[in-house]
């Protein structure tokens, strides 16, 4: 019997040798037949609108090059970053990948990205928006190059404004005005609403963003300091929670459920009169062919005379740790963030791009509503902080969000919630 086991063991070994021999072939794509270095580039841009644009950009680059050939691979949104982490661990990542701006430092700290400082030209920094650039640094080293960004705008229905007796050219500038306008815009029938003027947590400006807006743009954690239960944040959260009290939890949930499936947007179907969303939201309005008139405005200030603090996010081009050709990857990244490519990307996709000149040139090229929206988003950049994932508390959002949720639901007072959130976050770091 022992012999039998030995035989079995030999067979297993044999089998695994065959397996490993098969997998050895993957390095063959290192250089192509023309002797060009192959740079593997992964994005999640596979949609009908985005894929042709990025493919064109890549093929233009390849035509202009006799040393590098970029191969673009689409990886679905739900998989791309998990796969990348696994690939970094296995030592065979792509050379360039699109990743999230907020968590650059978090990945850099965990050794998932290459430091690009030595490969990038000196001038690159000055061509991009400075606060974006800074968000992609970790310990003063460049771990990603900003590609595109977003911030939030207040879209408002001008027709509804007229109907409610409000001046359609005067969108709200403060929280108080926003609330006054919203009340006038509400259309109530019995206990339910036919139209809700506004609800601060719909769209893409969450409770944390409102609190940051109230607190001079400060997030919960800035560097080593925590700003949870500040007077302004407490007041901000109280204000947010009051909206649900006024409209009624049932009504809010019912509305959320209706548009939660993502088929119709309640602003476009005129069920909500004011809506907070990114500039890209304009393309939805445009493509819906609605004849509604709308205007855009910055996020209202907490108090009169205050700044219109916004909330920014975006994407960077990153070289995963262990990539074979970081130098060539950096060359491609510089091309991707050049004015020409960036303005092409912006025109086609309506993204706010990181290159300053490109963004400006797009404003000039656009007209009508599109111009209005894009210009407004660019003006927002000066008031837009990027609340990066703090390296010490990478998990803080999943701790804080449910507590804030409970405060909005009225189960705990805003002050208690924020104090508890701070305590829990502190406990989460060993």
């Amino acid at each position: 019997m022992a012999r039998g086991f030995r035989l079995g063991f030999v067979l297993i070994l044999l089998f695994s040798v065959i397996l490993s021999a098969c997998s050895g072939g993957s390095d063959a794509s290192d250089k192509n037949k023309d002797g060009k270095v192959v740079v593997n580039f992964q994005t999640f841009w596979g949609s009908e609108t985005r894929k042709p644009v990025i493919d064109k950009i890549v093929s233009d680059f390849n035509k202009s090059q006799d040393e590098i050939e970029v191969k673009h691979t689409f990886v679905p949104w739900g998989d791309i970053w998990t796969k990348n982490t696994a690939a970094v661990a296995a030592g065979n990542p792509a050379d360039v990948i699109v990743n999230d701006l907020h968590s650059v430092a978090h990945r850099a700290k965990n050794g998932q990205t290459e430091d690009l400082s030595q490969y990038l030209g000196e001038d690159l920094k000055n061509t991009l928006y400075p606060n974006l650039w800074d968000s992609a640094l970790y310990q003063d080293k460049v771990h990603g190059v900003p590609f595109a960004t977003d911030n939030r705008l207040l879209f408002y229905n001008k027709d509804a404004y007229k109907e409610a007796g409000l001046d359609p050219e005067k969108p709200p500038t403060t929280w108080q005005e926003l609330e006054e306008h919203a009340k006038k815009l509400d259309v109530k029938k019995g206990n339910s609403y036919e139209r809700v003027g506004y609800y601060p947590l719909w769209g893409s400006f969450g409770a944390a963003s409102w609190m940051s807006n109230a607190d001079d743009g400060k997030g919960f954690i800035e560097g080593d300091k925590m700003y949870f239960a500040t007077a302004n944040k407490i007041e901000g959260l109280e204000w947010v929670a009051d909206w649900q009290k006024r409209l009624g939890k049932k009504n809010v949930q019912a509305f959320e459920a209706e548009f939660g499936s993502g088929q119709t947007n309640p602003f476009i179907s005129e069920k909500v009169a004011i809506w907070t969303d990114t500039a890209n939201f304009y393309t939805q309005i445009r493509d819906s062919k609605t004849d509604m008139n709308f205007g855009v405005a910055p996020i209202p200030a907490f108090k009169e005379g205050g700044r219109n603090w916004n909330e920014g996010g975006g994407f960077v081009m990153e070289v995963p740790k262990g990539a074979e050709h970081p130098k060539e990857a950096a060359t491609f990244i510089e091309y991707l963030t050049s004015e020409k490519v960036q303005s092409y990307w912006a025109e086609k996709n309506f993204d706010i791009v990181a290159n300053k000149k490109a963004a400006d040139s797009v404003v000039n090229a656009l007209e009508g509503d599109g111009k209005l929206v894009y210009e407004s988003a660019i003006n927002n950049l000066k008031d837009t902080p990027f609340h990066s994932v703090p390296v010490k508390y990478p998990d803080y959002k999943s701790i804080v969000d449910p507590i804030i949720d409970n405060a909005v639901q009225g189960k705990i007072s805003p002050e208690q919630a924020l104090k508890k959130a701070e305590k829990d976050v502190k406990n989460s770091a060993k």
Binding site: R3, L11, A86, V88, L201, A254, A257, G260, S261, S398
Partner: protein, 346 residues
């Protein structure tokens, strides 16, 4: 379940320790035995052939299962972050789990809640439906197909279907409740109702278990019922003394597997929460007020969002431990209530 065809003496190597549930490993020796029957001599070649036949499975087990399994056990004692560090930290991960991580308790509670309600309800539901579908009425095949259909449909499409059904003001469920004057809850949007929503959804697809019960019911000898009739037993007595005992092996199997699967609930929450992009806090990871932050979701977040793979592995092993205890418990007590036809177990 054991292969009775196999004569003990004919077995080419010591019988593997198989549990009742281990269908694959029980089936494999059979293949080896068949090859043996053709050629009665030359044991060496046969052993070789036997191992050759099962080698894909053994290689798979060793490299794709056992290897990673042991690796994750080791990792659970380190601060492994997938890409750059793996320092031994002793029991720190386990300590943190029980003493510092509130979300661990939230996720464990959410999961337990789901298991405690969904396992008995789906089992009882499946038995009930199987009993109904075991009647002799015309068109029964159509009913059986209809009830089995949800088990065939699966994945994201079903979740989206249920998101529509459970929509608070226009969904079918609340519309029907409304006919009876009941003001339905906000289901997936109300922290109190999110878990019941998922349990309801699970109940809809009891067809898979139903099929097993139905097959068993069809196999119950009519002689038993006839004998009971002669003794003057009523329908209830027949059910509790014949039908139910005959079903117990399947109930046992169903409970063990569905407990294991229920503890691993992940997809439903992952998809149904991310399906909408709205919530009071903007972030949707664990559903409204973290009411759908299930164990595996929390583990996944730790592993792939926070890169805390060491901690996630510790969580995985603790879950393994819980399931192990429960399964051993089930197995221990099974002889108290599970009835086997052969009579070798009581």
């Amino acid at each position: 379940m054991n292969e009775t065809v196999i004569n003990e003496k004919e077995k080419p190597y010591p019988p593997e320790k198989t549990t009742e549930l281990d269908v694959t490993s029980a089936a494999l020796p059979k293949a080896a035995v068949l090859s043996k029957r053709k050629r009665n001599k030359g044991g060496k070649t046969e052993n070789l052939m036997g191992y050759l036949f099962i080698s894909p499975w053994i290689v798979g087990l060793l490299f794709l299962m056992a290897g990673p399994l042991l690796f994750s056990l080791y990792v659970s004692f380190t601060d492994y972050n997938i890409t750059s560090q793996m320092n031994f930290v002793g029991l720190d991960n386990y300590k943190r789990m029980f003493t510092e991580d509130n979300l661990f308790w939230t996720s464990l509670w959410n999961t337990l809640y789901f298991v405690i309600f969904s396992v008995p309800l789906t089992t009882a539901g499946a038995v009930f439906v199987a009993l109904l579908l075991n009647q002799k009425i015309p068109g029964m095949k159509i009913f059986r197909t209809i009830y089995y259909l949800p088990a065939v449909l699966s994945g994201v499409a079903v979740y989206f279907l249920w998101m529509h059904l459970l929509s608070p003001s226009t969904g079918l469920v609340n519309t029907i409740l409304d006919w009876f004057g009941i003001n339905g809850p906000a289901w997936l949007f109300d922290p109190e109702w999110t878990k019941p929503s998922l349990i309801l959804m699970k109940l809809w697809s009891v067809g898979g278990g139903m099929l097993l019960y139905l097959a068993r019911l069809q196999g119950v000898s009519p002689a038993l019922y006839e004998a009971a009739d002669l003794d003057g037993a009523n329908a209830f007595q027949k059910f509790f003394h014949i039908t139910l005992p005959m079903l117990t092996p399947i109930i046992f199997f169903d409970i063990i597997t569905s407990t294991i699967f229920s503890f691993q609930i992940f997809q439903e929450a992952y998809v149904m929460i991310q399906g909408g992009d709205l919530s009071s806090s903007g972030g949707l990871e664990g559903g409204p007020a973290n009411s759908l932050l299930f164990y595996n979701l929390h583990m996944w977040n730790n592993a792939f969002k926070i890169f805390n793979m060491g901690y996630a592995s510790a969580m995985a092993w603790f879950l393994f431990f819980i399931i192990m205890i429960l399964t051993v418990f089930h197995l221990k007590f099974s002889n108290k209530w599970v009835h086997y036809d052969g009579g070798d177990k009581k």
